[in-house]
């Protein structure tokens, strides 16, 4: 993995006003990953991303992108990075094409790239309209077009769907999913919603209160999100004892029986047992612990009273 790590941070720390906003974060992003960078609002996502782009200087720790130190070779790194930080930045009085042209002049890429990126984000039709009249979704797509302009190897998208309506979110999601296939780009995408990156990310990192509390493949996170079966029955306590005495591993909480093994045979066995013992079975329902709840559990428990 070491050879194909495109971005790596070591003990990355940022202190703002005496408070550690980012605290010893070690990120590792491999080539071709779609890395979901998750955390609640204020966890340090944007601050981390700003440091990755050289917009803010780390208080401590190091950042290496493409094997180069950001402090020494910022410009060489940024030449291969496209980014969209927080809410979109644009020049409202200019048209979409002029916005891209202003950036293109700085990047020095061929003019044809403008039409290409506009068609990728499907803004060709609105290319010559002033951006201030764009919807938020269109502005965000323009932001992605801007990020793609330099044909980057690493795309950094900070909360690209923030504030969008469901249709806009869907649109951006489809757009992002389509990118790696087309150009083999590595993507770092941050969000405060797991559901948003769940469908596209290959790896996730979860940050909370400035600390990276989880970093692994999305599959591992999914494995932790197994569901369980809830049974509501008459006389739950007695039923629970009966089931236990017959060797079924079930829990009992708040008058409801729960089984964590959810394969068909186990469930059928439990129900058969209950019926045989003459308990009334009112409901058998599956409760799927969503990634969302795992995410909340990881990020939320520390702070709740």
């Amino acid at each position: 993995m070491a050879s194909d790590t495109i971005l790596e941070t070591k003990d990355l720390t940022k202190r703002l006003g005496g408070k550690k906003v980012v605290d010893g974060v070690n990120l590792a992003i491999g080539r071709g990953d779609i890395y979901g960078f998750l955390g609640p609002n204020g966890a340090g996502k944007t601050t981390t991303i700003r440091m990755l782009l050289g917009l803010a200087k780390p208080t401590d720790g190091s950042i290496r992108v493409f094997g180069k130190d950001i402090r020494k070779e910022r410009i060489a790194i940024l030449r291969k990075v496209g980014s969209l930080v927080e809410y979109p930045s644009y020049y409202g009085h200019l048209t979409a094409v002029e916005n891209l042209e202003a950036i293109r002049r700085l990047l020095g890429v061929p003019k044809a790239r403008i039409d290409e990126v506009l068609s990728i984000v499907r803004l060709t039709k609105d290319a010559n309209r002033a951006v201030k009249g764009f919807s938020l979704g269109m502005k965000q797509r323009l932001g992605i077009a801007t990020a793609l302009l330099g044909d980057p190897e690493l795309l950094v998208l900070d909360e690209p769907t923030n504030g969008l309506d469901p249709a806009g979110i869907q649109e951006i999601r489809e757009l992002i999913k389509s990118l790696p296939g087309k150009s083999g780009v590595t993507i770092l995408i941050s969000s405060h919603l797991l559901s948003e990156v769940e469908q596209m990310a290959t790896r996730v990192g979860i940050i909370s209160k400035g600390k990276l509390i989880y970093e692994d493949s999305i599959q591992r996170l999914r494995d932790q999100a197994k569901g369980r079966i809830r049974l509501s029955v008459s006389e739950p306590e007695a039923a629970w004892r009966t089931l236990l005495s017959h060797g079924h591993s079930v829990g009992w909480e708040n008058g409801v029986l729960t089984a964590s093994q959810t394969d068909n045979r186990t469930v059928a066995g439990i129900v058969a047992q209950l019926v045989k013992a003459d308990y009334e079975v009112y409901r058998v329902e599956e409760e799927s612990a969503s990634l969302e709840s795992i995410f909340l559990e990881m990020t939320g428990t520390e702070g709740s009273l």
Binding site: P88, A102, L106
Partner: protein, 240 residues
């Protein structure tokens, strides 16, 4: 690279009324003197030698042009930096493969160039004004016109650098604009009250002193110093 940044800057000021301001400044100054000379034609022009009239004309134009320049540089600096502040485009620009130094230099050079155009426009506008007063084409004192247009501009360099710096570094443009307006007022009253080393007096000295080149040189030199200080601060600061 600086040329690329500048070409992007010039693209960004499209449809921003900046060019209108750049032309309206000198045009307004000369037009006001037009009113002045029109109303007081008998006193100022009739029966005088062309040389005398030219002297009065150039002196009066530069008297008005100076506060206009000091005010204008604050507005132009604020507007060109405001383009970035408005939609917080700094983070967009500075996450691109460009050096922060050159981005800052780009804003300064843009402001300085626009004001250079304004100052330069004073030359043809004043000349045309003289001709409409019936002064002969052969009598145009080109060198006086040129020095009175460009010396105050060069002596104002510290203020161009200061306003560019303040406008870029502060999101709230009220502060730099206030500094600019106060600066203009101070320079209006700088005349006899301040010693020659006060920079607010330099634009005036650049047209009135026996040896105006001292004021010009001091302006350019101190301008470079202010620019360097601003640049250092901008490079060090995290991007908002």
């Amino acid at each position: 690279m600086l040329l690329r940044i500048l070409s992007a800057e010039f693209l960004k000021i499209r449809r921003k009324w900046l060019w209108v301001l750049v032309v309206a400044g000198p045009l307004g100054v000369v037009a006001l003197q037009g009113v002045n000379f029109g109303l007081r034609y008998d006193y100022l022009v009739r029966g005088k030698q062309p040389g005398e009239v030219w002297d009065a004309l150039i002196g009066d134009v530069s008297m008005l042009a100076m506060p206009a320049l000091l005010m204008g540089l604050a507005i132009v600096a604020s507007m060109s930096a405001g383009i970035e502040h408005q939609m917080n485009a700094w983070k967009l620009t500075l996450a691109l493969p460009v050096s922060k130094r050159q981005v800052f230099a780009g804003k300064f050079v843009l402001t300085a160039l626009l004001l250079l155009v304004s100052s330069a426009l004073l030359v043809p506008l004043s000349a045309a004004f003289g001709l409409t007063l019936g002064l002969g084409g052969g009598s145009i004192p080109w060198s006086d016109l040129l020095t009175d247009a460009f010396y105050p501009y060069l002596a104002s360099m510290p203020f161009i650098a200061l306003q560019a710096w303040l406008s870029v570094t502060m999101a709230n443009q009220a502060v730099p604009l206030t500094v600019g307006i106060i600066g203009m007022i101070v320079s209006l009253f700088a005349g006899a009250r301040f010693p020659d080393w006060v920079p607010y007096k330099w634009p005036q000295l650049a047209v009135s002193a026996n040896d105006p080149l001292y004021a010009v040189a001091a302006g350019v030199a101190f301008g470079i110093v202010v620019f360097a200080v601003g640049l250092t601060e901008f490079v060090r600061k995290d991007v908002k």
